[in-house]
């Protein structure tokens, strides 16, 4: 195998898990994976499979139970706590709640491995802190207490904190879990930017598969029997995402990266028309439990074109017109029962 100079992290037959008493409880079969400088990597897997344990093991908060983790070729076992803190930063799912702590103070915590024993913030530390705050566009919140921030702002402050820690790798455990949609995209945009512009390797776990697929350079897909790594597209084409669902009622569409239920169809229906109106009508039809057929047979739907503003449902008894998709679907459900 060719030696990859950009490689910053590699897992070699890594065994992760918990130690309780004398028993080692190993969660997964040995894991092999790697990360390059500047890559945004999503860790995907079902609940409880060990994503958090893997991330905690990477940051040295949990002991590895076998195998190796190499940071730029050097084993994690050879690092002291302080040295490791200069290699890898961490954001957990735990929400930090401290009264009277300003955003500046929180970000300054990131300088912990760089300051002397008194923790004095020197001029250079101060500049790094301000830079981190600016990169996360938190400058206007600098003197605000973290208890007064919204969830999204606090998460940005936490990211500023690992930026100030000045590590090549950032590990984040579900960084967008408790955020609203706008907050999610803002954080993901920030992560994206940090990996592109600042060459940070970001490894984050998420449950949002579609977001992970569209935004990550690489995916570590953790299944019960192995870890599969690769570009989202490679994994999608290999069909491995299907293994995430152990029920047969949900299916992953490798054509467009969406999910659909595999429940029985109520019938086939033809749609006439083009464009975004057709796309969304198809979605609605699918959701209602119908399949889109390729054969034009009554009843069928004509989506609005420029000259006509209503949906038409052509049936044997005549043409029904609807102003909204909602009405169309309601009518379909009401009039048609059983296969058409």
């Amino acid at each position: 195998m060719k030696k990859n100079l950009k490689e910053i992290l590699s897992l070699d037959s890594l065994k992760i898990g918990y130690v309780s008493g004398k028993n080692e409880n190993i969660l997964l079969p040995p894991l092999n994976a790697s990360a390059d400088r500047g890559e945004l990597i999503a860790v995907i897997g079902r609940n409880g499979i060990g994503k958090s344990t893997l991330l905690r093991t990477l940051t040295g908060l949990q002991r590895l139970l076998g195998g190796e983790i190499f940071y730029s070729g050097k084993s994690i076992r050879e690092f002291s706590r302080m040295e490791l803190a200069q290699k890898v930063g961490y954001i957990s799912t735990e929400i930090v709640k401290v009264n009277n702590m300003s955003v500046y103070d929180l970000v300054a915590m990131g300088r912990f491995p760089h300051t002397n024993w008194t923790g004095k913030i020197e001029k250079i530390d101060h500049e790094v802190i301000l830079d981190a705050i600016e990169k996360t566009s938190m400058s206007s919140f600098c003197g605000k207490f973290i208890s007064e921030l919204s969830d999204g702002e606090r998460q940005k402050a936490m990211i500023a904190r690992i930026l100030a820690q000045d590590t090549g790798i950032m590990v984040m455990d579900e960084p967008t879990a408790f955020l609203d949609v706008a907050g999610k995209y803002e954080i993901l945009y920030l992560m994206n930017m940090l990996s592109r512009k600042n060459n940070k390797t970001i490894i984050y776990s998420t449950h949002d598969l579609q977001m992970a697929i569209s935004q990550s350079d690489k995916i570590w897909l953790i299944l019960d029997n192995k870890l599969i790594e690769g570009a989202p597209e490679d994994i999608m084409l290999s069909g491995a995402f299907d293994h995430l669902f152990n029920s047969s009622t949900v299916k992953f569409n490798s054509e467009d990266g969406t999910f659909s239920s595999t429940k029985d169809t109520l019938g086939n229906i033809f749609i006439e028309g083009e464009g975004s109106k057709r796309y969304w009508t198809e979605k609605a039809i699918n959701r209602a439990g119908f399949k889109v057929s390729k054969e034009k047979r009554i009843p069928y739907i004509i989506v609005p074109s420029e000259s006509d503003y209503s949906w038409q449902l052509v049936t044997e008894t005549g043409i029904l017109r609807f102003i909204t998709v909602y009405e169309l679907i309601a009518s379909l459900r009401g009039t048609i029962s059983g296969p058409i």
Binding site: A85, E94, N99, G119, L130, S139
Partner: protein, 355 residues
Amino acid sequence: MKAVKQNELSVDPDTGRKVRLIFSGLLLLVVIFLILDIFLGSVSIKPIDVIRAIFTHSHGDFETIILKFRLPKAITALTVGVALSLSGLQMQTVFRNPMAGPDVLGISSGASLGVAFVILGFSSNITPESLNGLGNWILVAASWIGAGAVMLLIMIISSRVKDIMTILILGIMLSAGISAVVTIMQYFSNETMLKAYVIWTMGSLGNLTVNQLNVLLISVSAGIILSLFSSKMLNALLLGENYAGSIGLNVKFARAVIFASTSILAGSVTAFCGPIGFIGIAVPHIVRILFKTSDHKVLIPGTVLMGGVVMLFSDIVSQLPGSESVLPVNAVTSLIGIPVVIWVIFRNRKYTGSF
């Protein structure tokens, strides 16, 4: 560009100036209350006589009162205030519990158990009079061990139970359990031991011998030095163990150092002055309100000064200046501390898990 930014941000010189101003104010208050504590008492002594007593070496009644009673008592009050407040601050940070304090979580009870073992358990030869020299160190060490053991127990409990109120209730249970053990020990001890122990439990700020005061001063100084050494670690622990570890803190080492200094601070005070309530829990909160910061580089010196101020004030009030009678100092500290504690409880209803 950087210079412009600095002015916009929170770390501007104004904040630094404000902090220095509050520090100066607190230092001034410590001096004023220390003087007042010496000047005021159940026996009215003219200020000029007080000054003469301190600076001349005559041997009158006033001199005896000032040098043998009031001065040691004032120094004791100052030391006790500093030690209890600082131990409270450290416990609140380590346990991430705003209601933590040496008396509330049973640390003081643990210390008194240590003392009970020495006085009731070992030898009938120990009397208050024989408790000098090495005896004092044995007493104080037993107290540290007792305090440390309870700290450890609370730590184990709070790693399993996250709820603040549950831990408080367990702390109360622990205290009750310890007093039960002490009661049983009293039941089986002989008269001399019992008398020695009862006298100890009545201990107040004014009963310390010179030797005991020395032991107290040395121990508390050691505790303060350890605490100052821990300020960076305490800051990291504010974020919780996981984050503290991820930014490079050796959590086990940090805990050991902080446990040691807390046990020394709370244990030493309890060994010589008995349990004094509510100072340890209340003062750190007053300091946080005053400085509006979570940085221990500010909070530790702030707590040292404020602890001294509050305890000296309590001592002055307890002497009811101008009257013949003296109140137990515990009553005064409770009346000062309880409103603060109630305020913290109410504020925390909307923001649990923080302080």
